[in-house]
């Protein structure tokens, strides 16, 4: 099994007056785990359905391994789908469900038996082959759906929120397994999700979508660390967004930005922004210090709320300029010195402060992809971080069947 590549060219889908997918262009490479991430209604599922062939595009191309498949009916496309609700045939047992596609392809009987066996082994369901789907748990059904699609050795596997119906614990576990499985079989995955954590942990690259357009494409770390639009900054994790305006540059080339009467230095953001901007900082990068300390990028404030999260404490601090800002403090076991009502000094490190253009790039799909942002600090993701996690799980089973 080797993955195929997918290219979407100006893909558009309109339902009457409503444009669900608004001219998106994406390239998904061979063997890539590619996620479409966005809130509900952003067009990610419609995009997936267009690739699968369940909807006909209003305009644009869908190239699978270079060949335009936009007009090819679903049953002739070399892609397979894992549905959100699995869509396992209730009247067939697990074996027949997995064998369904092979039988349609007129694969000889003994080869069907061998390949279904291998696929079920891959998802660790060998002993369940005679069960009906109704007698399987949600997680098991999900695996059957996966086996049913993988057994056909598709060029690309499409997954529509496949973990959405499972409980949190199982979801975490299957995230890891799914990623390991993908690396093992080498099939290109296009994975639709609204869960940013899921996308961040599993993907090689993520496309963040909003209103039928792609806001930003990049590896997880880049998407999180270097958001190019307010939408991306806000959708991935929690961001503090403050209105500000550019006052120029200082001698180190940093932005001088005025936020509610305070003059701050921001080291991150696109070149040559002017006028009104949004200034953003992740809650975990906000530092709280004792009241009275003064210095660069330090703003006085009052602790307004204090929320215990278990592994961390979330504080909502009202700045002197009236803006409320979230700060996350790790739970080290010591009592926090910052009680509700106490005055603190909020340090917004310049390296964590990012300047973003006010109007998100949602007016043109292309700006987010190319024109913008040559990043100051080069932020390359060390790839060893993720693969280290998966190493232990990969070596579980043999290849899916060559």
């Amino acid at each position: 099994m080797s993955g195929g590549s997918i290219s979407l060219v100006d893909l558009t889908k309109r339902f009457g007056a409503f444009t669900a997918v608004d001219g998106i262009s994406l390239d998904v490479e061979q063997g890539e785990f590619f996620s479409l991430l966005g809130p509900s209604g952003c067009g990610k599922t419609t995009t997936l359905r267009l690739v699968a062939g369940f909807e006909s595009p209003s305009a644009g191309q869908i190239r699978v391994n270079g060949e335009d498949m936009a007009q090819t009916p679903a049953h002739r496309r070399p892609v397979n789908t894992v549905f959100q609700n699995y869509a396992l045939f209730p009247f067939l047992d697990v074996f027949d469900n997995v064998a369904f596609g092979l039988r349609r392809a007129r694969v000889p009987k003994d080869e069907i038996r061998r390949r279904v066996g291998e696929a079920l082994e891959l998802v660790q369901l060998q002993t369940f082959s005679k069960r009906r789907p109704a007698r399987l748990s949600g997680g098991q059904q999900q695996r059957v759906a996966l086996a049913r699609a993988l057994v056909l050795k598709p060029a690309v596997l499409l997954l529509d929120e496949p973990l959405g119906a499972l409980d949190a614990k199982l979801r975490k576990q299957l995230q890891v397994e799914l990623k390991a499985l993908q690396e093992q079989v080498g099939i290109t995955f296009i994975y639709v999700t609204h869960d940013q954590e899921e996308a961040l942990t599993m993907s090689d690259r993520i496309a963040v979508m909003s209103n039928g357009r792609v806001e930003q494409v990049g590896p997880p770390r880049e998407i999180y660390e270097v958001p190019k639009t307010v939408f991306v900054a806000d959708f991935l994790g929690v961001s503090n967004l403050m209105a500000g305006s550019i006052r120029g540059y200082d001698e180190h080339g940093r932005y001088r930005v005025e936020v509610g009467g305070f003059d701050l230095r921001a080291a991150r953001g696109a070149h040559s922004l002017i006028g009104d901007v949004k200034v953003t900082i992740r809650p975990e990068r906000v530092r709280l210090q004792a009241d009275g300390i003064s210095g660069e990028n330090r703003v006085p404030g009052t602790v307004e709320r204090w929320v215990y999260l278990g592994n961390a404490m979330q504080l909502i601090v009202k700045l002197a300029n009236g803006e409320a800002i979230q700060a996350l403090i790790h739970n080290t076991g010591e009592d926090s010195p910052f009680a509700v009502g106490s005055r603190v000094c909020v340090h917004l490190p310049e390296q964590a402060l990012r300047v973003l253009p006010v109007s998100a790039s949602s007016h043109s799909g292309t700006t987010s992809g190319t024109a913008q942002v040559r990043e100051r600090a080069s932020e390359r993701r060390p790839s060893s971080v993720r693969s280290g996690v998966n190493e232990t799980l990969v070596a579980r089973t043999g290849p899916a069947g060559e």
Partner: protein
């Protein structure tokens, strides 16, 4: 019970009192009045039928005075007047079963195909067409009957009042019931299975044969039984398109016989009709339950009741 001041024993009285008091405690009271009204209605609607059936077992010739019990006299025991031996009654029974059988065989396949088309038709006209499908269900049957009669009389003059005309008439309005039941099932199973089948490489024809048909089977069986039940029961249309005595069905026979001098054999005929309808509905329910048992159980009972109950629209 409350009105009975003299209780058999003081212990029982205390128990009753406690229960009455307990009834008032707690935020949710049992819907006693609702239950009472419901049971009163059920009794009111069923008792006449039960009495009619009872007289089909009368040992004498009266349909109003009970003269003793005879299990078989009016069904087949009486050598002249029983349903089995009276040629007119026997013919009515056969004619009814013949019409019902033909109606099932013709209306169900057409209705299933129509439902498939209507449920999966996206675009202009789908909505009105779906709505108009209910039209035969709400049209007064007398209007439908007389219209069909006039159409056959003046437009399609090659169709004479006959068994064939009766089948055509019954099919015309039974299709709607089939469509309603099957379309409901199609909506409840959604498009996912079809898409999954196509995704796995099944052609549209294979999808229909291998995926949709098994999923629709319970609804198809339910439709068959419903068509049977409404065909057996139909009077107005069947009468309008009747060719005379040779086309008389059970309802027509009962109607005309009751106006003359009825014998309990008429009750027996009516009772047979009730048995057949009941059997059809029970069979439909059981089939639906059995065939959908692999789906989530709570849903399937509901769906079975609603789809089998659909003929009472």
């Amino acid at each position: 019970m409350k009105a009975q001041p003299l209780s058999p024993a003081p212990g029982a009285a205390a128990g009753l009192l406690r229960r009455l008091l307990q009834r008032r405690s707690g935020p949710v009271r049992k819907p006693r009045v609702l239950a009472l009204v419901t049971w009163a209605y059920i009794a009111w609607s069923i008792v006449p039928v039960l009495i009619a059936i009872q007289f089909s077992f009368n040992a004498g010739r009266s349909v109003s005075v009970w003269q003793g019990f005879s299990l078989t006299r009016w069904y087949w025991g009486d050598p002249v007047n029983s349903v089995w031996h009276d040629p007119a009654l026997q013919h009515a029974l056969i004619q009814s079963l013949k019409l019902a059988g033909l109606d099932m065989l013709v209306a169900t396949p057409i209705g299933v195909l129509l439902a498939l088309g209507l449920a999966r038709w996206r675009g202009y006209g789908a909505r009105p067409a779906n709505f108009l499908m209910l039209f035969p269900l709400v049209t007064p049957e007398i209007v439908m009957g007389v219209s069909l009669y006039l159409v056959f009389q003046y437009v399609f003059t090659f169709i004479h009042p006959s068994t064939a005309a009766q089948v055509l008439g019954q099919v015309t309005f039974s299709i709607s019931y089939v469509v309603v039941v099957v379309r409901g099932r199609l909506f409840s199973i959604g498009r996912d299975y079809e898409e999954a089948a196509a995704d796995l490489g099944a052609t549209p024809w294979e999808t229909l044969r291998l995926v949709l048909f098994p999923l629709l089977l319970p609804a198809v069986l339910a439709s068959l039984m419903i068509v049977f039940a409404i065909s057996i029961d139909d009077f107005v249309i069947t009468q309008w398109l009747s060719c005379g005595a040779g086309c008389d069905t059970i309802p027509i026979k009962i109607y005309s016989a009751t106006r003359a001098a009825p014998l309990p054999s008429i009750n027996a005929l009516a009772a047979i009709m009730v048995y057949c309808s009941l059997a059809a509905v029970v069979l439909a329910f059981v089939c639906y339950k059995l065939l959908t048992r692999s789906e989530s159980s709570a849903d399937s009972t509901q769906a079975a009741i609603s789809s089998v109950g659909a003929f009472d629209l």
